[in-house]
């Protein structure tokens, strides 16, 4: 029972590799792809990525743990990236984050119990002129107040999940015997 890449994913990996003179350079893009496929980067996924680009597993581990966007645990369907850096903090970013935590009953870095959301406290999202800012998937939620953030949560629920999302119970679907 091993995790595998679909044929489609394998084709994509071949394209990614072809864009660099050294296949190791495809490490970040292939990890993004793995996260899209499997929902998060498990130990098994690390091995798959390492083998796909021909580098030691330990190298991929080093990369996964260095960057903040690779999830090492299952996440909610939607990641809420809430900025609290200076420009956002000056205009109520912490109040927005707190309101979201209260509403979802979980803290930053955690998943909501219903599996819908993961809250991430973000550093500057490059939307400072429209602070406070939050990103979920391809969408920006700008000039937020705690009230607007509550409405945003409703909107986000209707969006497609961030990654080919598999809550923990259905991860088996991605496995081939």
């Amino acid at each position: 029972m091993a995790l595998t890449f679909t044929d489609e994913a394998k084709r994509k990996i071949a394209t990614l590799r072809s864009r660099y003179p050294d296949p190791q350079a495809a490490c970040l893009p292939v990890l993004h792809l793995a996260q899209d496929e499997f929902g998060y980067i498990s130990d098994e996924a690390v091995g798959l990525v390492a083998d796909a680009i021909g580098v030691p597993h330990s190298h991929v581990w080093g990369v996964v743990t260095f960057y903040t966007m690779y999830h090492q645990h299952p996440t909610g369907k939607h990641t809420l990236m809430v900025c609290t850096n200076v420009s956002c903090m000056l205009r109520g970013g912490y109040e927005v984050l707190e309101a979201i935590e209260k509403k979802l009953g979980c803290k930053r870095g955690e998943n909501s119990a219903d599996g819908e959301f993961t809250i991430v406290e973000e550093e500057c999202l490059a939307a400072c002129a429209d602070a406070p800012a939050m990103i979920s998937g391809e969408r920006y939620f700008l000039r937020l107040t705690p009230e607007l953030a509550m409405r945003a949560l409703e909107d986000i629920k209707k969006m497609p999940p961030d990654h080919g999302h598999q809550p923990p119970s259905t991860i088996a679907k991605a496995r081939k015997s």
């Binding site: 190791q24 350079a25 970040l28 960057y67 690779y70 903090m89 912490y94 550093e123 490059a126 002129a129």
Partner: protein, 468 residues
Amino acid sequence: MPVELSKMPKIVTRHFGAEEVKKIAEARKQGGYTQLKKAFAMQPQAIVDEVKKSNLRGRGGAGFPTGMKWGFIPKDAKTVYLVINADESEPGTCKDRELIYWDPHLLIEGVIISSYALGCSHAYIYIRGEMIREFAVLQRAVEEAYASGLLGAESPTAKGPFKLDLTVHRGAGAYICGEETSLLNSLEGKRGWPRLKPPFPAVKGLFGQPTIVNNVETICNIPAIIDKGAEWFAGLGTPRSGGTRILCMSGHLNKPGVFELPMGIPLRTVINDICGGVPGGKKVKAVIPGGSSMPPLDASELDIPMEFDALMTDERIKPVEVKPGVKFDMGGGKILRTMAGSGGVIVMDESTDLVAVTWRIMKFYAHESCGQCTPCREGTGWLARITERMARGEGRPGDVELCGTIAHGIAGNTICPLGEAAAWPMLGFLTKFRSEFEAKIKPGLVPEIPAHPITATGIRSPELERRG
């Protein structure tokens, strides 16, 4: 005299607000890619010379002259890479994301011309991982450019063979990858650890080959330089900085926003005339002029022209001190005032708790330190913890001095400038607002600033409270 935004020259932001220009057909109708013909009729070296003459300076942070940087590529180089830095993550900066979103084809046109000038046949755009929407926009634009034969095909008109591939590479969440050598490591599939310089990337960069790293805004200016000429571009700016400058105006402003403005416009004009002043008629207390790694200006320093040299040398800006009366020496007796940095301007009104702001800045750099150098790894953490307890009004006697000593100990002793990026604002805030820090140790000294970090404008960190 009120400033009329509509009369100001717009080079890189002229398509902001026009959704359709993302599509190549519309972009071409609006003049996109028309400068390729003119550029290809020139010798590559002539383009480099033109960029030198234009006085274009890098918009990524350091303001290094672009043409001069291009000139560092060894003449006999066989493989050259151009890498566009679209990792924008310096707090307060939000222009490159907008440039990519509104006008991806302008960036691609700039990349093609620059690659031709540099002899590069495969360019990379390193885009910040969190910019999921902008990645989609840019990737689509790149695919359109491939489909139209602008990329991936031999150019029929270039002098000599020229064919360019362009790959958009997503980061994965790490501020440090904006630093150019860290970015190159990240692009090579490694952890984003900065490299020791020298060798500089222009000599030994991506995959060991000569490499130019340029910011998005820098490269977006290239087509206009080809179009209207170096003299025109240089003439728009100040004697040593050509063109316009995007300022990202955030914080306590009535009309925050991203504005392309004449190089050297006084800060006070931007705050009052462009951004409609401070809400509630409050006074400005402090302004970060170029991203959170730059020392702040105080209310007496708002008449400074927002231009690279002025922010470093204008004598109206007080020098940053290590401790009262002792100027910070950047090496060779060079004193530090502040810098234009990334164009991220953060305005703070009179009710702002600057100790809490400093804590948030230190927390950021501590979080983003890559951990390779001890002074940066440990020092940024110490500064975050000490400013945190000061922000909570629980500073210990000696904390203010300690912050100065630690910051001074980081600066100049690290592999990359992230160390300075933390040390400079620490020393800058201490130099200009020392009494606020002291008040956190002896609460009551400055009564209008509450010892507990809650202000009228809502600066409050639950983290500070929870542990209190």
